[in-house]
Symmetry: C2
Subunit: 209 residues, 2 copies
DNA sequence: GTCTATACTTCGATAGAC
DNA sequence: GTCTATCGAAGTATAGAC
């Protein structure tokens, strides 16, 4: 199978800029606002370059997804090996821009087969990594894993995080604080109160220098 | 304030058809596939008629949302006054097409101010209706509402339902069955096993006639 | 390896005929 | 109450010059 069409190199500066711009436009105006014209304009290049580097728009979306996915997988690895993995997981899961981008990809994936497959594969990878790390931890901290299986726990945390973030973004209020509190009590019960990360910056107090 | 532009009557047959078609297209191909041309074509009318009846596309979306919202509010009212309101709620919340349409509106609302306001208003109305009906019921069936406040409970049920449906649609698997089982056990613990609705059709057994 | 020029399609919305 | 005609903008994607 010969190369079906010419395509820009993987290390091109322009390529990176296009990926950055696409991510930003998805966050600001949604996946539907992503067009070769719009992305090119914001990147300061011509629309044809978008197709030169990525072929179709679906390919562009997939590249954005892959780049982000890799970053997040690495990030999650670090968090899962921290002293309070559940807390760390909760913190990332309630990251606003992360959730917003994921939602865009979810919406996109519902109607585009190739993107659905890619997104599902990443999501499964994420969840399995969580389970691998958390199973032992949950037993250790004393969670009744028979009544509350680790699988159900990670799904529940993910569901609550994305729902809270989405509804807050929508401007909703009813029940959100109570739900946040509930999760907070749960985390405190099993992992104790939040502790500053090892190596985290301390609050700086003004000192004479 | 005079009428700013001519607009079709509320009772027009064409108007209904346009709303139906829009809902279907949103489900099949997503909100981004909704255009006056596409909707008109599938409804067998000219594109100008879409603007004649609804003005802008955002207005069209809002009308679809209102129609559905009213239907669902009524449906929820009935469910909340059934003998197993939590079960009834869970059943509706895990309705596939309902969730899919809600997701489309969520994605749309993230980037369109007028739709966001409308959707948030409906969602709050839904949740408050749930709380009004469920507060007493939860106490009666013996849920520890201090540890698990009704507000957090309805958010959690909604979050789990939409997450499970979305992830199943995506083709994911890990943890979904365990989570469904967990909810099922919870429902059984407090409302008992599923009971056929009063007035529901019985399974028909072939009888000589 | 990079980009320009260009072909062709579809879009939202309106004015005005019927 | 409905439809025709139409504008200007924006859409995807490719061929081929540099």
């Amino acid at each position: 199978m010969a190369t079906p069409r010419r395509m820009g190199s993987e290390t091109s500066e322009t390529r990176f800029v296009l990926l950055d711009v696409t991510e930003r436009v998805m966050l600001e105006d949604g996946y539907a606002a992503v067009s070769s014209r719009r992305i090119a304009k914001e990147a300061g290049v011509t629309p044809a370059l978008v197709h030169y580097y990525f072929g179709t728009l679906d390919d562009l979306f997939i590249e954005v997804l892959r780049r982000r996915g890799e970053q997040q997988l690495e990030r999650q690895e670090r968090q899962l090996s921290s002293p309070q993995p559940l807390r760390a997981l909760w913190k990332t899961s309630t990251d606003e821009s992360g959730t917003a981008l994921l939602m865009e990809f979810m919406a996109l994936a519902t109607h585009r087969k190739v993107i659905r497959a890619e997104l599902a594969a990443y999501a499964e990878q994420f969840r399995k990594a969580q389970l691998d790390s958390l199973r032992d931890h949950l037993e250790e901290v004393g969670i009744d894993t028979k009544a509350f299986p680790p699988e159900a726990l990670v799904v529940t945390l993910a569901a609550l995080a994305s729902t809270i973030i989405m509804e807050e973004a929508l401007g909703m209020e009813t029940g959100l604080r109570e739900t946040r509190d509930l999760v907070e009590r749960f985390l405190t019960q099993y992992e104790g109160p939040p502790e500053p990360r090892v190596g985290a910056k301390r609050a700086r107090k003004p000192s004479p220098s």
